[in-house]
Subunit: 194 residues, 2 copies
Amino acid sequence: MARPREFDLDAALERAMQVFWAKGYESTSLDDLCAATGLGRSSLYGAFGDKHGLYLDALARYEEGSAARLNEALTRPVPVREAIAGFIARLIDDIVAGPGRRGCFIGNCAAELARDDREAAARVRRSLERIETAFRDALGRAKARGEIVRTADVGALARFFTAGIQGLRLVGKANPDRAALDDIAGVMLRALDR
Amino acid sequence: MARPREFDLDAALERAMQVFWAKGYESTSLDDLCAATGLGRSSLYGAFGDKHGLYLDALARYEEGSAARLNEALTRPVPVREAIAGFIARLIDDIVAGPGRRGCFIGNCAAELARDDREAAARVRRSLERIETAFRDALGRAKARGEIVRTADVGALARFFTAGIQGLRLVGKANPDRAALDDIAGVMLRALDR
DNA sequence: CTCATTATGGACTGATCGATTCATAACACC
DNA sequence: GGTGTTATGAATCGATCAGTCCATAATGAG
């Protein structure tokens, strides 16, 4: 009935996400986005609305992958301590070996524009809640299995790990030093030994 | 010998710092800075060089006050656990009661422009090291006093609290909920009970 | 009082921003 | 093959950006 789209929408979103992740919202221009995706302005606007809409879509895409990795790590059939340790170890690998100081897209978004961008702020809040829930569920199951003491407050621990991961990514962005990050991870994990 | 400056340089820097803190670097325009300080462009450029220089000065000013508060809290003649708990409690008060979602200026800087701004990145790294050192010194003194077990790794604990505070401020920026932040603080402090 | 020096405010610069417009192209349907 | 509909690319929009320039004002030194 009409001319079909000539590009892969998903691939374009992935490229745009990488640019926003690396440069942030304000510092990314539409020319940057066109260059990264290989698309013209018309195609971008036709597919994603405007710059802000594309940013939100990119944020959603990041969160999707991020949450999937976390859930996969936390539902492995191993003790929860090992599962969390494995997740954090891979996180540190990413920070140290990754293409330099991008941090966490969600955290970057929170720091950059959650101030007066209610929609973005709501997305960030939801993302953090999702992470928190994943931890709480995993810790709840572990508690039922007797892996952690019955007096443990899994809700507080879940919030702690959520914040801890953000802190880890932030200081890792400023100084991607494995020894320092391993130190932090080690102390974090000992919150489970009680 | 020449016309004297008509404004208070320190007060102007304080105002500029507040704006950069609240809005970030890119989103703050020179018109914003002129409006906040009450100065004209010529005065700003004459006193601080350019926008980037002013931003770095503002960052330094923030770090000064921030480090002073931390050191004051950590050198109080009380058990280190109490000192740290007091500092974090006041931090949470700031986050919850403060004028909305500014986060930590240093953390905001790290998230926003530490990527390809080497000078800002170096400042952030130095700031975090300063925080880490303050914790390490306080924990070292506490260890010598026998407040924490002799097997404790004060270096790792210092790094942990440094990252933890950043995580606390970040999630607090996204969701300034006292109960959640208190949960996180509670788990963090139990790292000292060993 | 005069002059050299610096501060100030406002006009102005070229560049870049996000967004729109429009002519053209490519399809599905009849 | 004609027609309606959407995609595409280039040109372009007004707004805003950081930064500069210049005429004027305000001081201290001689």
